[in-house]
Symmetry: C2
Subunit: 325 residues, 2 copies
């Protein structure tokens, strides 16, 4: 079985690739374990992975139709579409966001349709599809009202994946990811990057700025839980999804204050001295427009789960980053 | 003030043009009446209208970027975007639907953005953005879950109009039209075309087939009420719309049986003999997936209204078609 990951050089892409190679199979149709014989990692830079005969590393532009037609070979069984311009950058550069987050998704869908084999297509969406005046708890039937261009582009991608699935062109599955915390490495241009920085940097004795108020609530998930969800998304039979191919993943609802309290519990109260509180009204506005509490019943029925707590999320991060490496 | 209508040779386009010319002005910014000095009617065929010095009839392809860049001149104050491939045709020819209903909308929005004057942009959407398992009454916060490619393309257009408005590129307004009944003339390729045929044809002593069961419910609006709503949509100040630019228009919830009972009341029971009942499962499936009852509070707050009754809708049709012409 040949799998393709777009955006494979990103943090989630690389972890997904590692997890898939380690696992070696996916339970595909008819509950049968099917061996992963080829894993193509596509990105604009080469994904850096330990050598593996199953790996096929491809560098290219996801917005170029010819590149994508060559990428999506007839043996493609599963496509993980993770490539995206993050929220902050898509807000600043509208055209770039439209190209990468919308046009490239259309190009990938068209290439999958051409195969006439309806490959599984797992699309990484976001809770940023919700925004503005919202009910206190987001349900499966709540309207998508994005208040950012990134959220708009993801909401459009969801509609396309659903219609392509209904038409039988692909077998699509959409995961609305919570804010991923704690991301390792350096801050990126995502509006939510601070949510990882305020945990990650103090743990390493480095300063981190929190641009939002302590009361600001977030709906979060660890990278490890996200990877588990991506693998589940490919394995759940098409019949279980039914007519709606989009689900909001279960997360943990937590305030910035609760995150920092948990951090102090785990690493001692002194770590909080590394936090500065310089407000950023644009970030505050966008983050406050994201919902922080969900009743994700459809996802739960399909078997998706959340992290246990913010404490667990912080401990998992320390384990993954400071123990293994 | 220069106004442009796309899809202007269509039934609603021609009636909107006639109404705008008769009115002569729009209440634009600051509650001031602004004279309509130029009305461009754009379509793939020439709109047929009585001569008027304000009219500018343009024939072209709405999916051609260069044509649209020339169409949207710097003096454009209002664009009515009505051009579309109807539901049945968009379902049969996926690529044509995507080109006309999605790509052309993107091309128009890009051309409006280039002006840097944020023209008013009134987008004709549809209740086909809803489908599948739905609550008994559709509210303003109900998720868009289209079960047709037409509905998907309209839902995507709504998201784009909202984001372009949020960014200040246009001043967008989206009307989700109920099923328009009674359409004059011949049946078209819309899945809902029968809903007009079963009134229009018997009134003229002609046979009409009803492909759905008598219990099938529809959410309907007369052409006259739709035109009134289009004019209101351009006149309501931007501030009143706020962050959401999409509304479902108030309609009349009526079953096919109730439509025919009203027809018999008005034209005598004999007219029902012109109706045949040959079922069409594809039409039944699509029409049954459309919602037939709404609580359109936001539209009502903005001042939009419904027809009084199905009886009124039938009488209006007889007045417009059999009296005036």
């Amino acid at each position: 079985m040949h799998l393709i990951i777009t955006g494979a050089a990103g943090m989630l892409g690389q972890r997904l690739a590692t997890a898939l190679l380690k696992r070696g199979y996916l339970t595909h149709s008819d509950n049968q374990k099917t061996e992963i014989t080829k894993l193509t990692l596509f990105d604009q830079v080469a994904a850096t992975m330990p050598a593996d005969p199953r790996l096929n590393i491809v560098v290219g532009d996801v917005t170029d139709p010819e590149t994508i037609r060559q990428l999506i070979t007839p043996d493609t069984a599963v496509v993980y579409h993770l490539a995206a311009i993050v929220s902050g950058e898509a807000e600043q550069d509208f055209d770039l966001g439209m190209q990468v987050n919308l046009a490239a998704t259309q190009i990938l869908l068209a290439a999958c349709r051409r195969l006439e084999t309806a490959p599984r297509f797992i699309f990484s969406s976001s809770i940023a599809v919700f925004g503005g005046e919202l009910p206190p708890v987001i349900e499966d039937g709540t309207a998508l009202t994005p208040q950012s261009s990134y959220g708009t582009q993801k909401a459009i991608g969801e509609l396309l994946v659903n219609d392509y699935s209904r038409k039988g062109f692909i077998d699509g599955r959409v995961l609305r990811l919570p804010t991923i915390v704690v991301r390792p490495g350096k801050p990126n241009k995502a509006t939510s990057t601070f949510a990882s920085s305020i945990i990650r940097e103090p743990l390493q004795g480095l300063p981190a700025n929190c641009p939002v108020t302590p009361e600001t609530r977030l709906w979060i998930m660890s990278p490890r839980q996200a990877i588990k969800s991506f693998i589940q998304a490919a394995e759940i039979p098409a019949a279980a999804w039914g007519e709606h191919r989009s689900v909001a993943l279960p997360g943990v609802s937590v305030s910035v204050q609760e995150m920092l309290t948990a951090l102090a519990e785990i690493a001692g109260p002194d770590v909080l001295e590394y936090i500065t509180w310089q407000a950023d009204p644009m970030i505050q506005r966008i983050v406050a427009s994201w919902p922080a509490d969900f009743a994700p019943y459809r996802a739960m029925q399909l078997g998706f789960t959340a992290d246990h707590s913010i404490q667990d999320i912080i401990r998992t991060f320390m384990e993954d980053e400071f123990t293994e490496r």
